[in-house]
């Protein structure tokens, strides 16, 4: 027990206790009570706080739409026009570099990495005396592809089948869907696949996985709702071994990496899975392409709890670029293995660094 803990408890008691004192005496005004003296005026927002009808608010109209002639460009077209402007420029001015950096930031690569990449290309451009913008852009792409070049993106196989693949990640990123797609992909290659309904927490999670299993005609092993996920996974692996499966793909409930108890549960799932008669060859972190810099924390958290071996980057069919996956691979050396490009059963493809980099840096310049 730490002293901090005790202090917090006591402070909370005081807060709670005094809240009741105060609330009792003047409940209807409860909202105004706890604010205490001088913070209140500061909290009042200035007169023009956005009203419900943003459009009618006149000068308070959202700045972005105003600034960009009424229509906010998709990041794609924004990037497109930025790039068009870049190309139009003859010399490699400061503005070019700023725009390049911003294009990277808009793709969620993160500030540090974006600055770092541009800096590095800038040095090279200077050294090699390059003066054309499209050549500089090409150098950026090379640099990015180069950084992605060292990874093994194949699905690892174990010596003792079945090869067990755990799917982990925060809520709603596409774990279950990706299992459905990967099961289909592996089946189409003639592999025998069993899926494990290791999400015993979320309502109808097992049903969802079952429907995917039907689509690709693979067996599913599930437990009761609320059952211990580790034992469901264990059972599935044992079943997989018994029926001579090549792969067991195990679903897990979505969890936020800052929830220690849930991360402990994940550790246990991995530990128990390792005791079963297969080999845990992959722990795939499923990452939603719309995720911002929190993706790095997700990767760290899950890597720590379950030794993540690869990333599946989902929802790349939308407007988000998924740049944080680049940052994850660059910083944490966790390779992106597959990408999700839709909700259909065929919409999972092996990761292609070149295509990814070209998406991030805009359409190919002539």
């Amino acid at each position: 027990m730490s002293i901090v803990l005790a202090v917090v408890v006591v402070v909370l008691v005081v807060v709670g206790g005094s809240a009741f004192f105060v609330l009792r005496s003047k409940k209807p005004k409860a909202m105004e009570v706890g604010t205490e003296t001088e913070t209140k005026p500061a909290l009042k927002s200035p007169a023009g706080a956005p009203s419900l009808e943003g459009e009618e608010a006149g000068s308070k109209e959202p700045v972005i739409s105003r600034g960009l002639d009424g229509s906010l460009p998709k990041s794609r077209s924004l990037l497109g026009s930025a790039l068009a402007r870049m190309r139009a420029k003859r010399a490699l001015g400061e503005e070019f570099w700023v725009e390049l950096e911003e294009a990277l930031i808009l793709s969620d690569l993160g500030l540090d990495l974006s600055v770092d990449l541009v800096e590095s290309v800038r040095n090279k451009v200077y050294k090699e005396g390059v003066t054309a913008t499209d050549a500089a852009l090409e150098m950026l792409r090379e640099e990015m592809i180069e950084r992605l070049d060292h990874s093994n993106r194949d699905l690892n196989l174990g010596d003792a089948p079945p090869s067990v693949v755990l799917f982990v990640g925060v809520n709603g990123v596409g774990k279950t869907t990706s299992i459905g797609k990967l099961a289909a992909l592996l089946s189409s290659e003639g592999k025998k696949v069993v899926v494990a309904a290791g999400d015993t927490f979320r309502a109808a999670a097992a049903e969802q996985l079952e429907m995917w299993a039907q689509r690709s005609d693979v067996q599913v092993v599930k437990g009761a709702s609320g059952a211990d996920p580790a034992s469901v996974v264990f059972d599935a692996i044992s079943h997989g071994a018994a029926v001579g499966a090549d792969f067991v793909l195990a679903d897990t409930a979505g969890r936020l990496q800052n929830r220690q108890n849930l991360m402990d549960e994940l550790k246990k799932i991995r530990r128990v899975a390792e005791k079963a008669s297969g080999t845990v060859t992959e722990v795939l972190l499923v990452l939603d392409a719309t995720t911002g810099q929190n993706g790095l924390l997700q990767a760290q958290g899950f890597a720590e709890a379950a030794s993540v071996t690869g990333v599946i980057l989902t929802k790349l069919d939308g407007t988000a670029k998924g740049g944080v996956a680049f940052a994850i691979e660059d910083k944490l050396h966790i390779p992106i293995k597959f990408v999700g490009l839709g909700e259909g059963i065929l919409d999972l493809v092996p990761f292609d660094p070149k295509a990814f980099v070209y998406e991030i840096t805009g359409e190919v310049s002539q």
Binding site: A6, L23, K27, S45, P50, I64, G67, T319, A320
Partner: protein
């Protein structure tokens, strides 16, 4: 989750705060750091630019005014700006005079619509309404099943059928009218903004059922794309408000700021946990003050009010003030506090908590151990821990599945804590300085929910 953004802004501003004279370069430097802090927090680049431009304008004004404390004024400009972006009134729901009040839920895949729909239904039920859920997500496997399960957990009727999303929505509203439900929440399939067909579909649903409110569910972990998403949904649907999901994560939540700025619609509700009651109205001013390091005591108090047993909490506070707070009280309070949520989360809402303390890893499982140890003590030991000798210690350790060392540590730390409390002015010495205890009045009691 916004704390770290607050910390970064604080750093950026500390350099100019006390300056008696500000050069343009000083301001630019501070603005640069503010920009970086916002970008690292996932605020959209274009929104960052808009925000820093407005701050620059205010700062230039401050410099021109030859004020004695230009640094302070810039700090104030930043504060005002943030409150302005996030700020505004707490969203208020009004109900259709001719029920039902229809609410349409929209969002990307995986943003949390289904769970949020159920949480909303639970919320309305708690407000004394009679909500109904409509499952119009016929796309994702088992989405309807999921909603059905959640609906039965909160005992709210749920409607769906295997026709088409538009038909389901229409029939759902009709059904609600027929069975006399006054709020209808329509869950829809997640869709990408580039999917013209599905965007048309939700627009058609909206035209068909004419919702009183259309809510866009946004994941708090979202990055730069938040702006595209919000704008695109707002274009086809005329959103009324945003619902933030997964606020219990450790994302810095720039998406909230971005979306607010770009569509100019308020954040009405926020979700901060997987349980169906981890949900409530979003208070922009409180969130702004949390970013600015002023804590969020109001939310904390509300949480306390919702979950704690009034009598017990009151007794604890009284004992504390009187300096008679012993391990028995501690145990009781611990059980109360545990119900409120994670300690770390609560800590972040307290004002004036130093950064070091905020960053400390707090394992809530520790609480269980402490509870076990105190539970294994006798009444007498709890009120006077000094009687606990080696043999008693061994007994307590055995009874609670801990070690003697754990027990000594607990006792030692409890003593330290008492000392610390005293030095913080909690206890009899300073009791006179605290606000007088209002006598619980009958009226106050009645007004409490």
């Amino acid at each position: 989750m916004f704390e770290s953004l607050g910390g970064r802004l604080e750093d950026a501003l500390s350099k100019i705060r006390g300056k008696a004279r500000l050069s343009e370069a000083d301001v630019e430097l501070a603005l640069r750091e503010i920009r970086n802090a916002l970008l690292e927090a996932d605020v959209n680049l274009l929104v960052v630019r808009a925000i820093t431009d407005r701050i620059r304008e205010a700062a230039v004004g401050a410099m021109a005014s030859r004020s004695l404390t230009p640094g302070q004024q810039v700090v104030k400009a930043v504060n005002d700006e943030l409150i302005n972006v996030l700020g505004g009134e707490t969203f208020r729901i009004t109900y259709e005079s001719k029920p039902p009040t229809v609410i349409l839920m929209a969002g990307l895949q995986g943003s949390g619509k289904t769970t949020t729909s159920a949480k909303l239904a639970r919320y309305f039920k708690a407000q004394g309404r009679s909500p109904m859920l409509v499952g119009a997500d016929l796309q994702r496997p088992a989405a309807v099943e999921q909603l059905k399960t959640l609906a039965s957990q909160i005992q709210v009727p749920m409607f769906s059928e295997w026709t088409s999303p538009i038909e389901v929505a229409k029939a759902g509203v009709a059904e609600a009218r027929r069975i006399g439900r006054d709020v209808v929440i329509i869950d829809t399939a997640g869709r990408l903004t580039v999917d013209a067909e599905l965007m048309d579909e939700i627009a058609a649903i909206s035209r068909e059922v004419r919702p009183k409110y259309t809510f866009l569910v946004i994941d708090a972990m979202m990055g730069q794309d938040s702006v595209n998403t919000a704008k695109a949904f707002n274009d086809v649907l005329e959103l009324d408000a945003i619902v933030l999901s997964k606020l219990d994560g450790d994302a810095r939540g720039g998406a909230a700021l971005s979306v607010k700025e770009v569509v100019g619609k308020p954040i009405a509700f926020a979700s901060d946990g997987e349980k169906l009651d981890n949900f409530g109205p979003f208070h922009p001013d409180r969130m702004a003050s949390r970013i600015l390091g002023m804590g969020d005591v109001l939310t904390l108090i509300e949480q306390a009010e919702r979950t704690m047993d009034e009598e017990v909490a009151e007794r604890g506070a009284k004992k504390l003030m009187e300096g008679k707070f012993d391990l028995e009280d501690f145990l009781q309070q611990l059980r109360q506090v545990k119900k409120m949520g994670s300690l770390k989360g609560m800590l972040s809402m307290l004002p004036g908590v130093p950064k070091e303390l905020r960053d400390v890893e707090i394992d809530d499982a520790e609480l269980g151990k402490i509870e076990a140890m105190i539970s294994s003590m006798t009444k007498k030991e709890r009120s006077d821990p000094s009687i606990i000798d080696a043999s008693r210690r061994a007994r307590i350790a055995a009874g609670s599945g801990t070690t003697s060392a754990n027990v000594s540590a607990l006792i030692k730390q409890f003593k330290e804590m008492q000392k610390m409390m005293r030095s913080m002015g909690i206890g009899p010495a300073s009791a006179t300085k605290r606000r007088p205890k209002p006598r619980p009045s009958k009226k106050g009691r009645k007004n409490r929910r």
